[in-house]
């Protein structure tokens, strides 16, 4: 059995300066209630690792606007002009990572691999300062694994054991991020009794999940 906690309690777990992995793709499959609680609490100095910085009005984008994020590791910030302005002004440190590399770096962090070898980014700015190695005549960049202090993920169903299931394009980074943080907090749309999610439908086993967020009122 997992403990279901209130969103304020979830936010209170996260200290200043924490590194948080946040699921979602342009806010789809993002843990919006946890983000709202972090916003309300005002926790500062956060490093956000996420696919994108959404928009200034939505999802992790709001934490950028509120000035709570000092560093972001993301693949895209194009829909958040505030993030772009702050990056160009030097107020927000942004590491832009190709999307497929980002998810694999997080996966590497989560599954105990020492890194990722990928041809993505060869011959571009992404290659700067990185080691590359040749395997079977093809050159690959060595990309480092990523881990976070917290993974804040969203799912469709959770059961009392913390098993998680996702739907449609709301999977995105969530199942991978659930492997790659010290503390995993899942925000389910629905919480159902054990047995109601078929074992074959579970994409994040409950052993990875530390807390479930209470269902929305």
């Amino acid at each position: 059995m997992k403990t279901a906690i209130k969103q304020e309690a979830a936010a209170a777990l996260i200290p200043e300066g924490a590194t948080i992995l946040v699921g979602g793709f342009m806010g789809v499959g993002s843990p919006h209630r946890i983000i709202e609680a972090i916003l309300a609490r005002g926790t500062r100095g956060l490093t956000v690792i996420s696919n994108d910085l959404c928009t200034p009005e939505r999802g992790v984008g709001k934490l950028v606007v509120s000035g709570q994020v000092t560093r972001a590791v993301v693949s895209h910030i194009g829909r958040n002009p505030v993030a772009q302005q702050r990056m160009l002004a030097g107020e927000l440190e942004v590491e832009l990572v190709p999307q497929g590399t980002l998810v694999e770096r997080i996966r590497a962090g989560g599954v105990g691999l020492g890194g990722v070898l990928t041809a993505t980014g060869i011959g571009t700015l992404v290659e700067e300062g990185k080691q590359s190695i040749e395997i079977d005549g093809r050159r690959f960049l060595v990309e480092r694994p990523i881990k976070g202090d917290f993974a804040l993920i969203a799912c469709h169903h959770a059961d009392y054991a913390g098993n998680l299931a996702y739907v449609l394009t709301a999977h995105n980074f969530n199942p991978v991020m659930a492997l790659a943080a010290e503390v995993v907090i899942a925000e389910p749309e629905h919480i159902v009794p054990i047995g109601m999610i078929s074992p074959d439908a579970v994409k994040t086993p409950g052993v990875l999940v530390d807390y479930l967020l209470e269902r929305a009122a």
Partner: protein, 231 residues
């Protein structure tokens, strides 16, 4: 009867690009369309074309916009817009989605472009100091898709976008397979940029004047066939 010279006025430049690229798509392909102009390509496929569109946010079998009132918050395209799905669709996480892209399982991607150069290299993800949206999935698509087609306007504010060497940061060091603009179809090859086709009514001289890169031009350059593809 419409003459060739009437076509440019009759067809929006974006429509020319989208229609021409739609003719590159074959039945059974898995295709990823980038945001913006490339998305229009889907409008020109005949019904029953038996093509699956992949969207990198995690779906194979992306469909048209859903009817009003039927939008599902958990079914969107890579631009975050509400989408639908076709029979046979599959959803997946980002690791699988990019595994398909990087692993060579994607038959074709259509991407927007800021510049393409004589090597066939594409720059499409940032203008230093001005516009830095990030590369999103573009670098993975360029590195991994079997075929990369660039859909873009031939010039930007009068300045050529097909240039001797990209001045903007590259999206990849891979020669793209085809560049389609409202003026021309250009194929990057080991011998350089080969002018394959011209848009209806557009002369080779006009294409040369709008291109700063060296073009390889055959004696005869046919007009694009913009009739609806049906295969």
């Amino acid at each position: 009867m419409m003459t060739a010279a009437d076509h440019p006025a009759a067809l929006d430049p974006k429509e020319i690009i989208a229609r021409r690229i739609s003719r590159e798509i074959r039945a059974g392909m898995l295709v990823n369309l980038g945001i913006g102009l490339p998305t229009l390509v889907a409008n020109h496929l005949p019904a029953g074309a038996n093509v699956y569109f992949q969207s990198e946010n995690g779906v194979i079998g992306l469909g048209a916009r859903p009817p009003d009132g039927m939008q599902e918050a958990s079914l969107t395209d890579a631009g975050g817009a509400f989408a639908s799905a076709v029979p046979g669709a599959a959803s997946m996480d980002s690791a699988m989605s990019f595994g398909l892209i990087r692993g060579g399982h994607l038959d074709m991607t259509v991407l927007g472009g800021l510049e393409v150069d004589e090597r066939g290299y594409l720059a499409n993800w940032m203008v230093p100091g001005k516009m830095v949206p990030g590369m999103g999935g573009a670098m993975d698509l360029v590195a991994g898709a079997k075929r990369v087609i660039v859909a873009m306007f031939h010039t930007a504010k009068g300045a050529p976008k097909i240039v001797p060497e990209c001045t903007l940061p590259l999206t990849g060091a891979r020669r793209v397979d085809l560049v389609v603009t409202e003026m021309a179809v250009i194929e990057p090859t080991a011998e350089g940029l080969v002018l394959r086709e011209r848009a209806p009514g557009v002369t080779v001289d006009a294409i040369r004047a709008a291109t700063s890169a060296r073009l390889v031009v055959a004696a005869e350059v046919p007009e694009m066939d913009l009739a609806a593809a049906a295969r």
